[in-house]
Amino acid sequence: MKGIEIYAAIAYVVLGPLLGGLLDGLDRVITARLQGRVGPPLLQPFYDLRKLLTRRIAPVNRLQMPLIASHLVFALLTGVLFFYGSDILLIVFVLTLASVFLVLAAYSTGSPYSTIGAERELLLMTAYEPMVIIALVGLYGVAKSFNFYAILGSKMPAYLYLPGIYLGIVYVLEMKLRKSPFDISTSHHAHQELVMGLTADMGGPALAMVELAHWYESVYLFALVLLFFSSSWISAILGLAFTYLLIILLDNATARVRWELALSFAWIATLVAGAGNLIPFYLISRGTP
């Protein structure tokens, strides 16, 4: 069994960016169609990345690039541990470490736009982390394991037991994937009030690294979603497609919120949909050994 896991981790390292980039490209195509535009070609994210890599843009200070590169390294590590079958609760904390590196990189520039972006990113992290933890605890309750493959192999229709938690995870994905209404720290469009916020002072290869890390992240975030729908092939495919389209739809149908709202909404959602789902589930499943 351990053999497959090593191959999965290696496949993730090699194919992760391809898959992540394609998800990004498809997102742009669908969004364009929703808005009645023709939109870019599917492979546009890869062209963008190639262009970014050819640019030579000087960093703002000597600390910025190391922190961004660390962000990429630890984002990659998160996914590797995930597909290698390490404890998924531990992986959430590694994910936090990766995000902290990105936030510190933005802080290090001292620039007002980056700083505010960094602060807002921290607020988003505070907003979504409780939900992620509750979700994993819920999945543990269903499958009695913290191993990706064990939960996957349990064939439990987790979305039936944990509907509130599933909705909470959609909420988290909106934040993690920098989608509206929660694209307050940075977005893929430079037209927000913070210019580019978190990434305002990152250009060329620096931005390419952030983008690459983002692709890696989106792959295992969707792998996490997969755990809710692992009961059969059909439910897996339908569940993933539904979630993906739901996120894009929400992105297009909502306006950006203020940070206070992002934090308090997320926490209320976590309490109502997350804890409100976990606690009854725990109490009921306690009775049935």
Binding site: R62, P66, S86, L97, A106, Y107, G110, Y113, L122, I133
Partner: protein, 638 residues
């Protein structure tokens, strides 16, 4: 004379010498020699006794209980005199009550011969090592810091002889406390730490210092009364005065007899650990010089409180009192973390973070299963090192920047690169994977999941919110430290006044903090797991492969950024100015605004007063805390 006894008396002996030496330089030598000697003794004790634990010792002093009574009456008299001089009624009342209890309680506790006055086990040795090594390093730091402190604050009367004596005696009392098995002895040491912290908190001598020192004294004397009552009740019901006897009864048919004594002792622990509603004494203690804060928060005082709770864990597990203690704990955990977001005074944030972590330790001890006790022990270890490092580094930073305001530490990386490194390591150890505190929190979550109890999903939800908030307030502080306003500025200009004593302690604690995260699987295997097996009949450690992952990650988290930084600093490429949507006029963050006027950029951190306002949160916490405390008292009466 046995080694544990030498360990207890060595620090106060050096303290007495320091009290006698008037020459500053000579006294500094005495203090450093004392710090080094007691640390060495602690290590020797741990190394030589580790093989045959627990070690049981009988004190050979005849009529020991009379000696204890005498010492307690003397302390009560000292407090009474002080209270009269300072015209404070409450401490006088409490001292009188304590004296009366000691005298009257003698009817039940007097004349009982303990089978072992001291018991040294793995938990004692953990605390002994923390007191010795972390406490010792704080003493070395103080040797450098206190000189600067008095130069910076000429109005404060120089009482460094008393300071050195009290600090060292404090360590001695802590050693005694963590090795005591006879509860009468433990109470004596308990009251000594109360008295020592009172003297140290009031060191500044101004009105605020006096007020806060008396607050600490009052609350801790109150806790001491609960401790006394607990012993008397225990002795009256069972004719015994030993902690191990108490714990043994918890599993036997007489468990009902010890519910009330355990509740009273736990209350004493709650007070000393500054849990809600008693938190204000620790927050007030911030007025003391930095080394005192470092000592109170890391290796002494509050750690005595949680030490007692951890000791009581086997007797609390599954009981009403245990659940109540865990509620007090989780309340304190969440309130401390929330309140810390809104504060911009560095010492205040550190203090609130201590409160929060002590709350988590108490939560674990209150539930008291073997898995959660494992977590609690590691939290004690990691917190002691990281918090001592943070306090002393903040002290040094505040001398450089002239302020304790976190905002004034913006871009400290340029002005104080070495101190910033220490702070960054300390902060990382407090909140982020793969460092100790986070690993412990992770283990706590897994332990709660294995706990078949109604409380566990609630505890997990609280942990999730508290832990996310912890990330917020530590990261924004760390971000501010690393925020480089002017990359071309000369580095290290603010480090002029930093003494080598301070640097030595800070560097040592930095190395220790990281080392602890690397060797913790060994600590678990050779110290904590055997202890749990002895105490609970079951043992616990994180999954070996998980431990390996965290240890490897510590290496990566240190090496990757360091390596990348070295490569980056060798780069000859130019730098570009930060984006400010205007013509940048640097150096520093300036740009040409409209009409060609040069404007400077200033950024501030978020403190989210409207959501995380400290006053509101603490007041609510204190109200709920009082309620829970009253319920605990209620269980005593029932």
């Amino acid at each position: 004379m046995t080694l544990p006894f030498i360990v207890v008396v060595a620090p106060p002996i050096f303290g007495l010498i320091a009290l006698a030496v008037r020459n500053d330089r000579l006294r500094r030598l005495v203090v450093i020699a004392g710090a080094a000697t007691q640390a060495a003794l602690a290590v020797v004790l741990a190394v030589t006794e580790a093989r045959a634990l627990p070690l049981r010792l009988v004190a050979t002093l005849p009529n020991l209980d009379y000696w204890i009574l005498g010492a307690e009456l003397a302390m009560a008299a000292f407090i009474a005199v002080l209270a009269i001089v300072k015209r404070r009624a409450f401490p006088l009342l409490l001292a009188a009550a304590q004296a009366a209890l000691s005298l009257a309680g003698g009817r039940w506790t007097g004349g009982i011969e303990a089978e072992a006055h001291f018991v040294v086990d793995q938990v004692s040795l953990l605390l002994v090592l923390i007191i010795g090594v972390v406490g010792g390093l704080i003493m070395v730091y103080a040797a450098g810091y206190m000189k600067t402190y008095h130069e910076e604050h000429p109005a404060i009367r120089d009482r460094r002889r008393l300071f050195s004596f009290t600090m060292l005696s404090f360590l001695g009392a802590m050693y005694g406390l963590v090795m005591s098995n006879d509860l009468r002895l433990m109470l004596l040491f308990w009251e000594m730490t109360t008295l020592a912290s009172f003297i140290l908190i009031g060191y500044g001598g101004d009105a605020e210092a006096e007020k806060n020192s008396f607050l600490a004294l009052n609350l801790n004397l109150l806790g001491g009364l609960a401790f006394s009552l607990g012993i008397i009740l225990f002795a009256a019901r069972t004719g015994k005065v030993e902690l191990d006897a108490l714990l043994a009864m918890a599993k036997g048919p007489d468990a009902a007899l010890i519910i009330a004594p355990v509740a009273l002792l736990a209350l004493a622990g709650i007070v000393k650990a500054a849990l809600l509603p008693f938190t204000p004494w620790l927050l007030g203690a911030m007025v003391a010089p930095t080394p005192v804060s470092a000592l109170l928060h890391s290796s002494t005082m509050v750690k005595a409180g949680v030490f007692l709770l951890i000791r009581l864990a086997p007797a609390m597990t599954g009981t009403t009192v245990g659940y109540l203690v865990s509620f007090v704990g989780i309340l304190t955990f969440i309130a401390g973390a929330f309140a810390a977001v809104s504060r911009r005074n560095a010492k205040r944030v550190l203090a609130l973070s201590t409160v929060s972590n002590l709350g988590l330790i108490a939560t674990c001890a209150g539930i008291g299963t073997y898995e959660l006790v494992w977590v609690a022990l590691f939290l004690v270890l990691f917190h002691a090192i990281a918090k001592a490092l943070l306090f002393i580094s903040v002290g040094t930073a505040s001398v450089g920047t002239g302020s304790l305001d976190i905002e004034s530490m913006g871009g400290l990386l340029v002005g104080m690169p070495r101190i910033t490194l220490f702070l960054v390591v300390g902060i990382s150890c407090m909140f982020v994977a793969p460092f100790g505190m986070l690993v412990s929190k992770w283990a706590a979550m897994e332990a709660f999941m294995n706990l078949n109890s109604i409380v566990s999903p609630f505890m997990i939800a609280f942990l999730a919110f508290g832990s996310a908030t912890t990330v917020l307030f530590w990261s924004k502080w760390m971000g501010l430290l690393l925020s480089i306003r002017d990359p071309s500025a000369t580095r290290g200009l603010l480090e002029g006044k930093v003494t080598r004593y301070e640097l030595f302690s800070e560097a040592s604690l930095t190395i220790l903090a990281i080392a602890a995260c690397v060797i913790y699987p060994l600590v678990s295997k050779y110290a904590f797991e055997p202890y749990l097996l002895d105490t609970f009949g079951k043992t616990f450690g994180l999954d070996r492969s998980n431990m390996l992952v965290t240890v490897l990650m510590v290496g990566m988290t240190v090496a990757v950024p360091a390596l990348l930084l070295i490569i980056s600093r060798r780069s000859k490429d130019g730098l570009s100015p930060a984006y400010m949507s205007g013509r940048v006029t640097g150096p520093g963050l300036a740009f040409k605004g409209s009409k060609g006027a040069e404007l400077r950029v200033a950024t501030h951190s978020y403190y989210l007063e409207s959501i995380f306002g400290e006053k509101r949160i603490l007041n609510a916490g204190i109200a709920i805390g009082i309620l829970l405390t009253l319920i605990i008292l209620g269980t005593v009466l029932l």
